[in-house]
């Protein structure tokens, strides 16, 4: 039995925030879950996928976030309880749906998890999705720990059905990817059979219906505001004259800062878990009870702006600060030491922060960086190499719009194969724009999962409007970056996976692309020839570079390391493989010159370096017994 389905009420588990969200949904009787994977939300879908294999819970990895939310909306309109999870920028993709779903509302509870990523650990921006709650008018809850993540998820379903509105559960990386002790509650049975009761004057958002629906949304918002006042998720701790307002993981940092500084008797902490609509009355009372206020929240001054607006209605508002010089930044995530220091500064508490050691200064020079890198044996590196050599041989400079996935790591030297990136799917249409505006050779890269997610409309546009670029689809059969989730073109499918596989080659042909070729990037000569031909041609050209992700195959148990490779004395330190290919398993001597070595613990035996070595110095070495 899946661990999240086991366990008696009252039992304690060390759960990842994302697992706690899944458990909370199960305790609320969730029947359907949908997701397009994206860090830091991915484990939510992965756990639901595992659970769906052994229960009647329905889960799907949807093609993109808009699709995920629409499948969820349909199921919720049919009366089922549904959870839909995505990373913060995924909500942008789903935003068109979300804004009008707020008008039509739901029957079964619908919880939208928006996993924000302050500090951009694995994202292209650090937008603050709390504004989506304000923009859409929907209720929003923000947990401050894995335990709260479970409780608030469960409660969100109840709230969603009480208000007949989707509820946004807004988390940040530090909640999604923290483990904490979580006390289990009772699992509620699922209602898996829904019924769609026709009601077009609620569900068909033509202007006449939507005008009424908007008005209903405002009524429901007023009800939500009343719930926020009394629901118990917004609490005041302490009775001191110094006011602190906080929510999410920042509230944990504040709690520690108060204890560390020993100022518990002087502080009142308003900790907010229900953050849209805000509890205006509660905040007004709080502001009236304190002398000065510090607002502690990562990213934008979402709470601060509202607290200031509420204070403006008071006769003697206390001074309120949050973002500003010597206070908090709108950039990046916070940490305990930072919050402790700002609290001490703002309230005038004597405090000397630690002076951290500086390893580079002690060493007398900078430390070598260790940025993330494509894995040894990654087929994307082989494709990039072939493109580099093709352009070198043709004497052409390429402009490389790229996209979101492992292959974005091709940005770094020695590959340096990325020039322009905005968001999922942007490689295709930005390539069209650059090619149209210039006379440069444009070669765009997109992964297979990203192609299905949002690359297809751009390619249709390119064919229809007769654009001129080469698109290379890096098809490794899986959504590798986020943990090998299946996508519509999944190859090979995980054992027992029920989804129908859609072949990218056929899709591209069906879109009207006349110049399309399929290559295996680990066959270097054939790939190089195909790329040279495509680079030299005009019009919309597509190369599908297909070779399964080596980590994915290992995970499926399908990759047996048949060979190891050795570097012979012919290696003359020409560094071609390091300068153009840069596989982490190829290692030069730490000092001086001499032949490279291949680190057998890293090598994944793709055999590509053997093909690219111009000195023919790399050879396969049979393993014992073969």
């Amino acid at each position: 039995m899946h661990p999240l389905l086991a366990g008696q009420p009252g039992e304690k588990r060390l759960l990842l925030g994302n697992e706690a969200i899944v458990r909370g949904a199960l305790e609320a009787g969730v029947a359907v879950a949908t997701q397009y994977p994206g860090t830091p939300s991915s484990e939510i879908g992965d756990r639901f996928y595992q659970i769906s294999r052994e229960t009647d819970l329905y889960f799907e990895y949807s093609t993109n976030e808009k699709v995920a939310l629409e499948v969820a909306a349909g199921a919720a309109a049919s009366g089922l309880r549904v959870l839909c999870a995505m990373k913060h920028v995924g909500v942008n993709v789903a935003a068109d749906t979300l804004m009008t779903l707020a008008y039509s509302g739901v029957r079964g509870g619908l919880v939208l998890v928006s996993a924000d990523d302050p500090s951009l650990f694995s994202s292209q921006n650090e937008q603050d999705n709390r504004y989506y709650a304000k923009l859409s008018g929907l209720p929003m809850l923000e947990p401050a720990s894995p335990q709260e993540a479970k409780e608030l998820t469960s409660y969100a379903f109840q709230l969603s059905e009480e208000l007949a509105l989707p509820v946004i559960l807004r988390t940040t990386t530090r909640i999604n990817h923290s483990r904490g002790v979580v006390v289990l509650g009772e699992l509620k049975p699922r209602v898996r059979q829904g019924h769609f009761a026709k009601n077009p004057f609620r569900y068909v958002m033509v202007p006449a219906v939507a005008r009424q629906a908007h008005s209903i949304l405002l009524d429901q918002q007023a009800k939500a505001a009343a719930v926020a006042e009394t629901c118990g998720l917004n609490t005041v701790q302490g009775r001191g004259p110094w006011g602190i307002v906080s929510s999410g993981v920042s509230a944990a940092y504040v709690t520690d800062a108060i204890a560390d500084l020993g100022i518990g008797d002087r502080v009142s902490l308003l900790k907010l878990g229900f953050t849209h609509p805000l509890p205006v009355g509660l905040i007004r009372d709080f502001l009236s009870s304190v002398e000065k206020v510090l607002v502690v929240e990562e990213l934008e001054p979402y709470l601060e702006e509202s607290v200031r607006a509420i204070a403006a209605g008071l006769q003697q508002p206390p001074p309120i600060q949050g973002k500003g010089p010597r206070l908090f930044s709108r950039l990046f995530e916070y940490h305990p030491g930072l919050v402790r220091q700002v609290v001490a500064t703002y309230f005038g508490v004597p405090y000397t922060p630690p002076t951290p050691l500086d390893p580079a200064a002690l060493l007398g020079r900078p430390l070598p960086e260790r940025p993330p890198n494509l894995c040894p044996g990654c087929s994307h590196r082989a494709t990039y190499y072939a493109v580099k050599i093709a352009l070198r041989d043709l004497g052409v400079e390429g402009i490389f719009p790229t996209d979101i996935g492992c292959y974005t790591l091709g940005l770094l030297p020695p590959l340096s194969m990325a020039d322009y990136l905005l968001c999922m799917g942007s490689s295709v249409s930005t390539a069209a724009g650059i090619a149209m505006a210039t006379d440069q050779k444009v070669i765009a890269f997109i992964g297979d999962s990203t192609f299905f997610h949002s690359g297809i409309p751009g390619l249709i546009d390119a064919v229809h409007n007769r654009h001129n670029f080469l698109l290379i689809i890096l098809d490794n059969g899986t959504t590798a970056m986020t943990g090998h989730q299946p996508h519509p073109g999944v190859t090979p499918p995980p054992p027992g996976y029920g989804g129908q596989t859609i072949d990218i080659f056929q899709v591209v042909q069906a879109l009207g692309v006349e110049q399309v070729k399929l290559v295996n990037p680990l066959q270097y000569r054939l790939t190089l020839a195909a790329i040279k031909e495509a680079v030299a041609a005009d019009g919309v050209r597509v190369i599908i570079s297909r070779s399964p992700c080596v980590l994915y195959l290992q995970r499926l148990g399908q990759k047996k390391r048949a060979k190891t490779f050795v570097v012979g004395p012919e290696c003359r330190d020409c560094r071609h493989c390091l300068d153009y290919f840069g596989c982490p398993a190829l290692q030069p001597p730490l000092e001086g010159e001499g032949p490279l070595t291949i680190d057998e613990t890293l090598c994944n035996a793709c055999g590509f370096c053997l093909q690219l070595c111009e000195k023919k110095a790399i050879r396969a070495k049979s393993t014992k017994g073969s």
């Binding site: 830091p40 305990p336 630690p354 390893p359 993330p372 970056m481 030069p588």
Partner: protein, 203 residues
């Protein structure tokens, strides 16, 4: 949570993607929970894991924050010597540092962008600026135990034998036995005990 003593312990783990740092912090979290301590664990997932630095934290006792600021780690558990040294900025003058002396060459060094600092110099600096240093060749000990992947178990063994974490060897072996794959269990336990012995010999 049942423990009433006022324990606060911040453990910072660092290593290279694939070295098993996340399993190590999860096991520490499980051991802390089994021993009745409040505990928070923070992990790195996603893009950063691809051959980059993977940092994770275990915070025990009466603390709500899952992460550790610069200069505030009581224990630094380093899976690769350069990464241990890079995280010296997490340490204070009384920190315990337990590090693998094994080297994993970053590709910025491989392609000649920079050079790898001398291991002996990094160890000297770690020793000079922290409370206590346990340096052991965890790669070799893991291989001796029968699995090159058991570096994390070697380091956990060394950590338990340091006496700075409030769990018994029995609690921890039980956690390893119930939370790691059966196929690797023997090698994991051997690696754990080799790490304990190596650290005991250094103490």
């Amino acid at each position: 949570m049942t423990k009433t003593e006022d324990l606060q312990l911040r453990i910072y783990c660092t290593g290279v993607g694939g070295q098993g740092t996340l399993l190590a912090t999860r096991l520490l979290g499980e051991a802390a929970m089994a021993a009745g301590y409040p505990v928070q664990v923070a992990e790195t997932h996603g893009m950063a894991q691809r051959g980059g630095v993977v940092e994770s934290t275990v915070v025990l006792g009466s603390l709500a924050s899952p992460i550790i600021s610069l200069g505030e780690a009581d224990i630094l558990l380093g899976f690769e010597i350069l990464e241990t040294f890079r995280s010296l900025n997490r340490c204070h003058a009384r920190s315990l540092v337990i590090t693998n002396t094994g080297v994993n060459v970053p590709y910025t060094v491989a392609i000649g962008q920079s050079t790898y600092p001398p291991v002996a110099q990094m160890l000297d600096l770690l020793k000079a600026h922290t409370g206590r240093l346990f340096a052991l060749d965890a790669n070799t000990l893991a291989q001796q135990a029968g699995s090159a992947l058991a570096v994390n178990m070697v380091l956990l063994g060394a950590l338990i034998s340091s006496g700075r974490v409030p769990f018994s060897v029995e609690t921890f072996t039980e956690i390893i036995a119930t939370r790691t794959p059966k196929a690797h269990l023997e090698a994991n336990l051997r690696a754990f005990h080799l790490g304990r012995e190596a650290a005991a010999a250094l103490a």
